[in-house]
């Protein structure tokens, strides 16, 4: 749907109701305006209503910019629909802006002809100049291509709050709820969920509660009664699997995964970490969960974080550490220690755009190489990647399983996009989660520190166990006995054994599945957070009859055993990545397949249309 273009009008008119399968709405304002808060509320309400959702917050780099400036703009994008959604949406169908800077930053993403609601009170001379507008865009015709509605939100909010006794400054902070109310009206959603939340949230402060709820209602009623806005959207609930749902972002899901794994293994969880965007939230979430015997250790740096986790692992708890790319670089030496001591260790890498500090709040898939190969010498570890925010839960569980089952470090790759993105998550039945049966040698067992089982896994003997005293460390060890050993053949044997042990994991992971035909002309191969965009693009292409399939790697080392098979069944392989071609390189080396990269390194995810377009190009090129 494209709403037909009209000039903004004020005449009374019947409201046009547009039925859509899905809609992308973005709210934007200054970072002081509370945009993330109303974004979350809108998300709640919509998902409780029964839509599938996908969200993308977009807040400024880490230092606050002066209010009203372009650098200070904060936005929240919500994609909701009556069918399964894979991404937060390429382009916006409705944009609500609270100030001129927000307009300037976000307008380029608004689909032509679509809905634009502006807080006209903010378009003062000062406001415009802060946003570096020479002329008022509301006046100069530059918005002619959109369906614009001007709402004096400051004035109306003040009006709504006049009996609450709040000071002017406090009242102006309620503007976001006015906007939210209007949005609720626009999309035909009830404000009740938010009103209930307000009741709880502001219980201690009745004046604030009153002002906020008055603003919210005023916004809603403005739509209902003022008849200024003559269009409304209807999006039916989605048909989704029955069950109890909640929203999660990737970091929460990872934190839940760690706790669940520890619980299912009957162990305390140790999490050593040093804060870094966008991974800090995992530490923060876990630090709240002491009831689950979660021991968080905010270390002095990333090196201390990983080495403390290694000490914890030696002692027998489930040990994990989390960070982002620069932090992983610092942990490289420590990862090597975990490799040679063959201790279970989960390393979560929430990737961000680099190199170096780079664009710390932006997303990227730049650390696949680092995960696979970023250490001195032959130091193989298991590498996994989560595909969606809620998949972070599942893949974290997998990381923990593999770490403990195979006595190995496992790196789970997430990224800024997954960590910020919010998805509905069907709450799993706890009993359906895998139960990890961790074996520790018991007094009486035969014990040698590097005596391996059929999977090549050494035993995990715990300090405190009588008779099993042993010493491990970073020097090469003789197999079986674990004594320090400089012998040439032993070293080669150990290097190959460590590699083979990782390869053995492949027997315990699912095969690579193909979405679409099992063979054909073109396979789109992805990994990590591009899952949504790739799947949506391939689905759309297939709906249009194009001969394309997709497959998605969640296991990078080892790869699923059938990966070569799958690749071999397609004539060509396209690999979209948010980097310069890391999976492409890996796949080419492994399978000598002439995989072609489709690469974007802009700190932001693929748009579905970009991948669609690339698929078309490739298929066109083929047939021509």
């Amino acid at each position: 749907m494209v709403v037909s273009m009209e000039k903004n009008r004020t005449q009374t008119n019947p409201v046009e109701v547009v039925n859509r399968e899905d809609v992308v709405v973005r709210m934007a304002g200054d970072s002081g305006d509370g945009i993330q808060l109303i974004g979350t509320q809108m998300t709640n309400t919509t998902s409780v209503f029964g839509n599938d959702i996908s969200t993308l917050p977009d807040y400024p780099a880490e230092i606050r910019a002066p209010a009203g400036t372009l650098a200070g703009v904060s936005g929240f994008q919500l994609h909701f629909g009556s069918h399964r959604l894979h991404t937060p949406g390429d382009r916006i169908n409705a944009l609500v802006v609270l100030n001129p800077a927000a307009l300037k930053v976000n307008l380029p993403d608004l689909e032509p002809g679509c809905l634009l609601v502006v807080n006209e009170d903010a378009f003062t001379e000062i406001g415009l100049s802060k946003a570096a507008y020479d002329e008022n865009p509301l006046e100069d015709g530059s918005l002619d291509g959109y369906r614009v509605f001007r709402v004096p939100m400051d004035v109306l909010t003040a009006e709504a709050c006049k009996d609450t006794g709040l000071k002017a400054r406090a009242v102006s902070r309620c503007k976001n709820f006015f906007a939210l109310g209007l949005v609720y009206w626009l999309f035909d959603r009830s404000p009740d969920t938010t009103l209930r939340w307000m009741d709880k949230k502001f219980r201690a402060n009745p004046a604030v509660a009153a002002a906020n709820s008055a603003s919210l209602k005023a916004g809603y009623n403005f739509g209902e009664t003022k008849e200024l806005i003559n269009v409304r959207f209807e999006v039916a609930p989605a048909k989704i699997a029955p069950g109890q749902y909640r929203r999660v972002n990737g970091n929460e899901a990872a934190a839940f995964g760690l706790i669940a794994a520890a619980q299912r293994a009957g162990k305390p969880l140790f999490y050593g970490s040093y804060p870094i965007t966008p991974a800090s939230e995992i530490l923060q979430e876990l630090s709240k969960q002491k009831r689950f015997d979660v021991r968080t250790f905010q270390a002095e740096d990333e090196i201390a974080a990983i080495t403390s986790a290694i000490g914890a692992s030696f002692t027998g708890v489930l040990a994990a550490t989390g960070t982002s790319g620069p932090g992983v670089a610092l942990k490289s030496e420590g990862i090597g220690l975990a490799v040679i001591t063959e201790l279970p260790l989960v390393i979560i890498n929430v990737q961000r755009a680099g190199p170096s500090t780079g664009l710390p709040t932006k997303t990227e898939q730049g650390d696949l190489f680092q995960a696979l190969w970023g250490r001195n010498s032959e130091a193989p570890i298991c590498v996994l990647a989560a595909a969606t925010p809620s998949d972070c839960f599942k893949m974290t569980l997998e990381a923990c399983r593999i770490a403990m089952e195979f006595m190995t470090p496992v790196m789970l790759l997430s990224d800024s996009y997954l960590s910020n993105g919010v998805e509905p998550w069907r709450i799993p039945d706890v009993e359906s989660l895998p139960r990890f049966q961790i074996k520790h040698p018991k007094p009486g067992d035969r014990f040698e520190p590097y005596l391996r089982d059929e999977k090549l896994v050494r035993p995990w003997a715990l300090p405190g166990t009588k008779g099993f005293q042993h010493r491990i460390g970073g020097l090469e060890k003789r197999d079986v006995t674990g004594d320090v050993c400089q012998e040439p053949e032993n070293h080669e044997h150990m290097c190959r054994t460590r590699r083979r042990k990782i390869d053995n994991i492949a027997a315990t992971i699912p095969s690579l599945e193909v979405n679409g035909d099992e063979s054909g002309d073109l396979l789109v191969l992805g990994w990590g957070s591009t899952y949504g965009a790739i799947t949506a693009a391939v689905d759309r292409c297939r709906e249009r009859g194009l001969g394309v399939s997709s497959a998605h790697l969640r296991y990078l080392d080892p790869l699923p055993s059938n990966t070569g098979d799958v690749l071999g069944r397609f004539e060509r392989v396209l690999v979209p990545e948010i980097n310069l071609g890391q999976l492409t390189t890996y796949i080419r080396a492994k399978f000598l397949v002439d995989a072609v990269g489709f690469n974007k390194v802009q700190g932001k995810p693929f748009m579905v249309s970009e991948i669609e377009h690339e698929i078309e190009e490739m298929l066109d090129g083929r047939t021509s």
Partner: protein, 338 residues
């Protein structure tokens, strides 16, 4: 630390592993190993409840020679590994073995933070004022001007004083001893092991190959009485077989001869437990040749340990019972699709 009654079968010998120590002849490390085994026996430490963690360096081979649990880590990070061990199982008694390079050069930051947190560890810093394992470069404790493989014209790095650093980092237990003074060393090790919290001991250790006799003054019969002063709590600082003492003049220590009107009561009295560590700090500044160097326990105070605090918060949180995943997943807004 475990305070089990000493059982008769716990002799120093039983703590030896099957690996033969591989230090150079004349290396001070041998003596420390011997004393540590004695102290383990004396404390009645169970081998299975004892963990030795080390970094990298000559001294860091230590764990291999003990039949306890052991972890030979990477350079400079022993403190962190040990912290992870202790937080994961506070019942273990955890020792850290480190060198002047390991603890003060690459590992300096971890030392600082471990000490300020007061994790219940016993840290033995083997100070030989040189990088032994890498064959003789100067270390952060090498004296100014020392010529080594990497400072042929003399080091221009002003040295750190390990005890001053530890005291500057809020240490609760700080001590110094000497490889060859076996009784004193044993005594200090025992006190350190019994202290709850981070115990930090600097051991003057001879490297017979790359820095022989760096501590001659304190080791040699002829000089040691005049160049060291042994600290005792609540006792005046007397040395040189009772002939001399240390008196405080404003904030500066001075050497005085006893007799001729100077009595022990006029001297500086040691106080391990002073609330603020200013005295311990002042003592850490006394250096040969200007002063006799203090040996013994500089400071020993009580402060909650990090591990107790961490576990305490968990116990508090669990007072209403442990967490349930069912509830965790359902915190915040949920909705049901039928």
């Amino acid at each position: 630390m475990s305070a089990n009654p000493v059982s008769p079968e716990l002799t120093p010998k039983i703590y030896a592993s099957d690996q033969e120590p591989r230090w150079c002849p004349g290396c001070g490390n041998y003596s420390v190993l011997t004393q540590v085994k004695k102290v383990l026996a004396k404390l009645g430490s169970k081998r299975e409840n004892t963990v030795f963690v080390s970094g990298i360096g000559c001294s860091s081979r230590f764990p291999y020679y003990l039949d306890t649990y052991g972890f030979h880590g990477i350079h400079g990070r022993a403190m962190n590994i040990a912290t992870g061990v202790k937080l994961s199982n506070p019942d273990l008694s955890v020792w850290v073995i480190t060198g002047d390079g390991d603890a003060l050069s690459i590992g300096g930051n971890h030392l600082l933070h471990t000490i300020r947190r007061n994790v219940d560890l016993t840290i033995l810093l083997f100070n030989n004022r040189i990088y032994g394992l890498t064959k003789g470069q100067y270390s952060p404790t090498s004296p100014f001007g020392q010529r080594t493989k990497s400072s042929p014209a003399g080091s221009v790095d002003f040295p750190l004083h390990p005890l001053s650093v530890a005291i500057g980092a809020e240490a609760t237990f700080v001590a110094r001893s000497l490889d060859v003074n076996v009784h004193h060393l044993e005594h200090v090790l025992e006190r350190a092991a019994r202290h709850k919290g981070t115990s930090f001991i600097e051991i003057y250790q001879n490297c017979s190959i790359f820095n022989d006799q760096a501590f001659y003054f304190a080791r040699a019969k002829e000089t040691k009485d005049d160049t060291t002063v042994y600290l005792e709590h609540d006792r005046p600082l007397v040395f040189a077989k009772g002939r001399k003492g240390i008196r405080l003049h404003r904030m500066d220590p001075e050497i005085v001869e006893l007799g001729n009107g100077v009595k022990e009561d006029d001297l500086l009295f040691h106080n391990e437990t002073q609330k603020e560590p200013s005295l311990a700090y002042l003592l850490s500044r006394m250096r040969y040749p200007e002063f006799p160097e203090p040996m013994g326990v500089f400071r020993c105070i009580e402060r909650p340990t990090y591990d107790d605090l961490v576990i305490g918060q968990i116990e508090d949180a669990q007072e209403q019972g442990p967490g349930h995943l069912e509830d965790l997943f359902r915190e915040g807004e949920t909705w049901t699709v039928e």
